[in-house]
Amino acid sequence: MSEAVVSNAPAPKPTPHVKDNAIIRFEGVTKRFDRVMAVDNVTLDIREGEFFALLGPSGCGKTTLLRMLAGFETPTEGRILIDGKDVADLPPNKRPVNMVFQSYAVFPHMKVADNVGYGLKMDRVPGEEIKTRVAEALELVKLGGYGDRMPDQLSGGQRQRVALARALVKRPRVLLLDEPLSALDAKLRDQMRSELTSLQEKVGITFIMVTHDQDEALAIATRCAVMNRGVLAQVATPADLYEFPNSRFVADFVGSVNLFEGVLERDEQNEAQVRCPEISSPVYLDHGVTGARGSTVWVALRPEKIEMHKRKNGETAPKMEDAPAGANVAAGIVRDIVYLGSETNYEIELESGRRIKTFRSNLTRYDQEDFTWDEPVWLAWHACSPAVLLS
């Protein structure tokens, strides 16, 4: 199914710095802790120059995968290749990767400059060169002139920049970031997001980020891998992940979604129809689904893709033939309203009693007044909007 669907995807954002070669390759990597399967047979290529995100709920194995790459954990099975070379025998201090830790791990007993120069000193780089490279690295993360400070004189955001500079100054092949934004406050996080992307484009190094925050992954990454219980659920660009999820888990984890269980009634080249008990009329789709007729499927409908219209009391749903071309219509009643400023979230009760979410942009200053509690509404969505999931 996914192949037919992906062709509908919008062109990915231009990323000229991404090359074709796989700089990192996981081959059937499995990690067991005692009896717990942390990472389960992961095979994944990460291309040079990518800003790659490992996304998933806590305990899904994403951090273990990152730590195996850094050399802090050894795979139970499988191989990890960096630049085509198996790194199984390389300890962390011999790998061409550097890590920015979640806690930043800035050495509290060293000046900023000594922190940043630490890795170069370990590589026995001459003192003069260390000086200039440290200054460059601090300039790069906008901490020029902070070299003589002690870490306790810095804010959390500044300490993170020290950790970034400390890793980047070694010019690693790959930079690993463990939940880089989780400890920052909301404003700083937004700022750091865009700084990370521009920094990555500037230095041209492959970045791999671990995060549990899907907004963060969508905003920053060129490609994401969603993990669930140690297994790769889906690997795709942010837009494909959101618009063309391959499973209920991905649809639900990335963004908000209304999921309906249903039976595939009709499946042709250019259209399909799913009967969902919770929606009074069948859901019409303007594309084919590769599934056996009569099989159980799930319809995933994003809240912002549902339009709301006024409905007179007592008016019932139009028949399929009467609905506007290519549209799906369902009747409902507004049960809850959450006003968020830029948009308003509504909870609508369908005729079946099922409640679903819809988001509506407040295009004018009066839009939020359009609908009130217990008001009957029509819900409509385009035939290309729902994603049909087989698992």
Partner: protein, 301 residues
């Protein structure tokens, strides 16, 4: 609700007075008496006059006693250094052991605390004496080596000469290290266990090997723990009495043995008191140095 002692004077008094009274009665008062003795003179077998003389202190800084003070400092210092060298890897190993293993290892470290010092010291004598287990083991190895050499057609080794491991200065140091090792390991362990593991991982990640990570990151960050371990080992080692008494030879006297002799055999309480207070001032100096280290490392973070 936050309260200061001013708001509940009665409650505060009820809590604070008993321990204060205890300290006053059983610590401050006796110490003051001894302190006063150090400025007194023996006028009879049981009578001491408080004459305000400095003669006792003048005698205490005579070369004979200064030498013993110096020797005690050296022995205690060596003990502390050896405890640190032996204890640091042990503490590191415990801090990195799995949680289940950790509690067993800590129990092993604590176990000697629950045994009487005298028994432990006599047990050490049983191990170290000429017919002790160390010499038994060495003799067995020696005889086997000798047998092996005859077997391959070489001259057999001579008769085994048991090593003299007791009643000398090394016996005292072995005993002191054995007794004081837990005092060193526990503060080191707690400092290392608290340390943020990602700091060590960051050091490895940046290209440092394990030795350099320990030297450049672990040791500096564990400095407060090392300082308190050093202090808590050094102070009791400096005033050690039983160990040099039982394990030492005639030349292994430490200052506490001299003090004991003044109070008992020599019946010269004023001089014993003066020596005791000199020892206490040395201890204060050590505590002051530890406080300095602590403050410097605190200012850094």
């Amino acid at each position: 609700m936050e309260q200061t002692w001013r708001q509940a004077k009665a409650a505060f008094a009820a809590i604070a007075i008993p321990p204060l009274a205890w300290l006053l009665l059983f610590f401050i008062v006796p110490m003051t008496v001894i302190w006063a003795y150090s400025f007194g003179e023996n006028t009879g077998p049981t009578t001491i006059d408080f004459t305000g003389t400095f003669a006792n202190y003048m005698r205490a800084v005579e070369p004979l006693y200064l030498e013993i003070f110096g020797k005690s400092l050296v022995v205690a210092g060596l003990t502390t250094v050896l405890c640190l060298i032996v204890g640091f890897p042990v503490a590191l190993a415990i801090a990195f052991a799995s949680p289940r293993m950790k509690s067993w290892l800590l129990l092993l470290i604590m176990l000697p605390f629950w045994t009487n010092l005298l028994i432990r010291t006599y047990a050490l004598i049983a191990v170290l004496r000429e017919q002790g287990y160390v010499n038994f083991t060495l003799e067995w190895l020696w005889n086997n080596a000798s047998g092996l050499m005859t077997f391959v057609g070489l001259q057999p080794l001579g008769e085994y000469e048991p090593l003299t491991l007791l009643y000398n200065n090394s016996a005292v140091i072995i005993g002191l290290v054995y007794v004081h090792l837990p005092f060193m390991v526990l503060p080191l362990y707690s400092a290392l266990d608290r340390m943020d593991r990602s700091l060590m991982e960051a050091s490895l990640d940046l290209g440092a090997g394990h030795m350099r990570t320990i030297l450049l990151v672990v040791v500096p960050l564990a400095a407060p723990g090392i300082a308190s371990g050093v202090l808590i080992t050094f102070i009791p080692a400096l005033g050690a009495y039983l160990t040099p008494d039982l394990l030492g030879g005639t030349d292994s006297q430490m200052i506490a043995n001299v003090i004991e002799r003044q109070f008992k055999r020599a019946n010269d309480w004023p001089f014993g008191a003066a020596l005791s207070f000199l020892l206490m001032y040395l201890t204060f100096a050590a505590i002051a140095m530890q406080a300095l280290v602590q403050r410097r490392s605190e200012r850094r973070r």
